[in-house]
Symmetry: C2
Subunit: 387 residues, 2 copies
């Protein structure tokens, strides 16, 4: 049973005091429905992804579904930390591939700016229940990724300049994306001169706290034929994995084992061997600059330890061998947790359809890669999309 993506939508990311969580969701839902040429009545099941960091909407699927007009449809909420978006797409995908639905919508939505940054970081650190790591040392998310960065620098000689280049690329792309949180280009010097949050990560190495939503409408091949849609981006394969949250139990800090396992599963199912040759576009989980460097390696774009040199080479820029995070990534487009994974689908679909305007990649293989991580790698999803 093949499953295709027939409609995508994405709200403006950023500080969105102007809308409720319901209204924010509807921005993406309406765009996705219009894009698919469907009405809300055509949808069988609505999967709402929301981490719900502010804890205000205990059951966010209820108001979101009611406001968006999906009362009466099958509803479910999913959560997988920062990989919640991909988890929502996964659940929409399995709902169709199992023949429980013909058309499913995956919605990712998050309102995060209503609490202050320190509280958000504390919630993030607490969220994973890192047990004594958080309580004993007060370790928040930048601190966890700082451990990865330090380990990577110590073992492979990765530099702060290389990390900075990930941020520079992200901002350069986001500047051309009207939906991005930050639309300002920055320089390597800007990054290096920004204040340390946790050594070696500085302010501009960190993704922001954003509000935003995104939506993707999936349908079975049979339904797609019935609807007369002939230009479709298919979900070719999905991989998932996890790892411990306790960092003390990790085998290594220079990469994410969950990414490697999820990649192996997704590539095996799609019959992929040499990833750089296979993909026209990749979206990877760059919550911190070091995360993008590790993703290059864990996804097989280069050998372990060579991620720093890959960003320097420019091959992950627009026009390079494998453009990564062309819409600005979590770093500059913004990172409204659950919206992120669904927005990755939005980006790949827009690119594979040739609708990315100034940010358009060259299309040769019509294949794209999605990589969405939760926490410090205790959730990972990898998906291969193909037009």
């Amino acid at each position: 049973m093949r499953v295709g993506i027939i409609g995508v939508g994405c709200s403006k990311f950023g500080r969105r005091d102007d809308v409720t969580i319901q209204e924010l969701s509807y921005e993406a839902v309406k765009e996705a429905l219009d894009d698919a040429g469907l009405s809300r009545n055509d949808v069988d099941i609505s999967v709402v992804g929301s981490v719900n960091t502010r804890g205000y909407e205990l059951m966010p699927a209820v108001p979101v579904n009611e406001y968006c007009g999906f009362a009466g449809k099958g509803p479910i909420r999913v959560e997988a930390a920062c990989a919640t978006g991909a988890a929502a797409v996964y659940t929409a995908y399995t709902s169709i591939a199992s023949k429980m639905a013909d058309v499913a919508i995956a919605i990712g939505v998050e309102k995060m700016t209503e609490v202050d940054t320190a509280t958000s970081l504390a919630i993030g650190g607490r969220g994973g229940n890192y047990l004594w790591e958080f309580h004993q040392y007060g370790t928040t998310f930048p601190a966890y990724y700082a451990m990865h960065a330090s380990a990577h620098m110590a073992k492979y000689g990765t530099t702060e300049e290389q990390l900075a280049k990930v941020a520079v690329k992200a901002h350069r792309n986001a500047a051309k994306n009207p939906k991005a949180h930050f639309r300002k280009e920055i320089s390597v010097e800007d990054v290096l001169n920004s204040r340390y949050i946790t050594y070696p990560l500085k302010l501009y190495d960190c993704s922001p706290i954003s509000d935003g939503s995104s939506a993707a409408i999936l349908a079975s091949e049979e339904k797609i034929r019935e609807l007369g849609i002939d230009d479709v981006v298919w979900i070719e394969s999905v991989g998932y994995a996890s790892d411990t949250s306790n960092m003390t139990r990790r085998e290594s800090f220079v990469g994410l084992k969950a990414t490697v396992l999820a990649r192996e599963m997704a590539y095996r199912r799609a019959g992929i061997e040499g990833p750089i040759k296979e993909f026209d576009i990749a979206t990877v989980h760059d919550c911190f600059t070091i995360a993008e460097i590790m993703a290059y390696e864990d996804l097989g774009f280069c050998r372990k330890g060579e991620g720093g040199r890959l960003i320097e080479s420019g091959e992950t820029d627009l026009g390079g061998k494998i453009p990564v995070n062309t819409f600005g990534g979590l770093k500059a487009k913004g990172h409204p947790l659950a919206a992120t994974g669904v927005a990755m689908v939005y980006e790949i679909v827009k690119q594979l359809r040739g609708e990315a305007r100034e940010l358009q990649v060259d299309l040769k293989n019509y294949r794209g890669l999605l990589h969405n991580v939760g926490g410090t790698g205790h959730f990972a999803y990898v998906m291969v999309l193909r037009r």
Copy 2:
């Protein structure tokens, strides 16, 4: 692709100050693994259902999976209010039926007694975002179901005595279930003399606030054959639906439209016409006594308005035509939100296998029915299981 249930587990329900949420989960997980004769390494994906009312574990799947030994496996958390358990079973089911996993475990877990009852009820009322209904009138869950009860009494002449009989049956069964929260038989007089919570619902018309966990291990038919298991309870069909949360938008208060829609989908997929004849056992969502009466009607056990007479007839008792909630129901077994739906699977599997001891039903059709509702009917799942 047929999907079977090969292992089930359930913790003691009640006030469980003695365990963390991880330890509580593991009680059910260990029993389910032992029951299936599998090790944790045989599981491909773990679906953790948790509403997480206390808001302490922002991302409960992380500590639960790590403690239960599922780090490295595919992880996802789902939530569908009080139907979270069925939603977890649904996601485990679709993961297998879509060929994304061979073996999946659905875990439902909730620790609710750490906050006081008033707070829990307020969270419950707020949880669904009933907008002005909750904020303007302070409507909590008993008040919502009291509206259903009043409407049913006004339209069909249903009596407080009939409601009381639902509670009496629940307590009679729970008294013989060592895992139940309440193991004390009560009389109709006890119920009628208990204090009003919201007219016409009295204390003994309401399910309690409980801690508990439950787990079910599902596998593909192919895997089940490979494992050499030949006595299996199969998931024959699944139905899902929802309705508005705003009560003002409901067509009627005398039943739950979401139940009717989910039932129609599940029965159609299983080819079922006369439900009483088809099922040896049914578990229905009796969060309040009126909810069981409405479920009888909405599931087709009797005509609309005759639910009060059905409980009086004794036909839903052990030994009756269709025994309902043989392990004590939400009312007396307890209602740890996410654990409830998975515990319904536990009950039906135990019954269909003939392992229910003093509470064993007669087996003729080897078919059981599961009905799990979220909120006041804005989530509903109906499943047909068959040995």
